[in-house]
Assembly symmetry: C2
Homo-oligomer: 97 residues x 2
């Protein structure tokens, strides 16, 4: 399988409502993107200073299926409407598992 991992950090002025809206919006993607085999995301637990604020671990059958997710209009809409307005930093890795 092929795994996509992304960690996001929010701007200091991001509100709790904006952060919660990202989680809600991400929750719609498994139904919208059938290539998603597993989609496990969540807010940082707050036990480690300097952490990013949100993790997404997404598994696919192949790198091609990951690309379908990456470019999917539903995913791009979540990024544009909910993530980008409060995004301070992003780190990502894709790897074979």
């Amino acid at each position: 399988m092929f795994r996509h991992v992304v960690l996001l950090a929010w701007t200091s002025d991001a509100t709790d409502e904006q952060k919660a809206a990202v989680l809600t919006a991400l929750g719609t993607l498994p139904d919208a993107v059938p290539q998603l085999r597993s989609y496990v995301f969540g807010a940082d637990a707050g036990i480690s200073p300097g952490n990013h604020d949100l993790a997404i671990v997404a598994d696919f059958d192949s790198a091609d299926d990951y690309a379908v997710y990456r470019d999917h209009p539903a995913h791009q809409a979540v990024i544009a409407e909910y993530i980008k307005p409060i995004l301070a930093s992003r780190a990502a890795v894709q790897y074979e598992i």
Copy 2:
């Protein structure tokens, strides 16, 4: 369960041998740290510009078990001997799954 996700980026002068040695060293940790329920790590596939270079996704029964791993001498030795010498950047999140 409790998940720890970390993404690492290597310095530009890190050698292929040094990068491979990190993977080998990480592979010893599941036997050394019984609190690890799942440990799935790998080098970035190289299909996305700007990515970090290595992902580790580690699952535990609890945040307390994650702390045992974090502070375990075998883990700290891998960090000190293999990771720190070539580490350029690190991003992490812990979250309930």
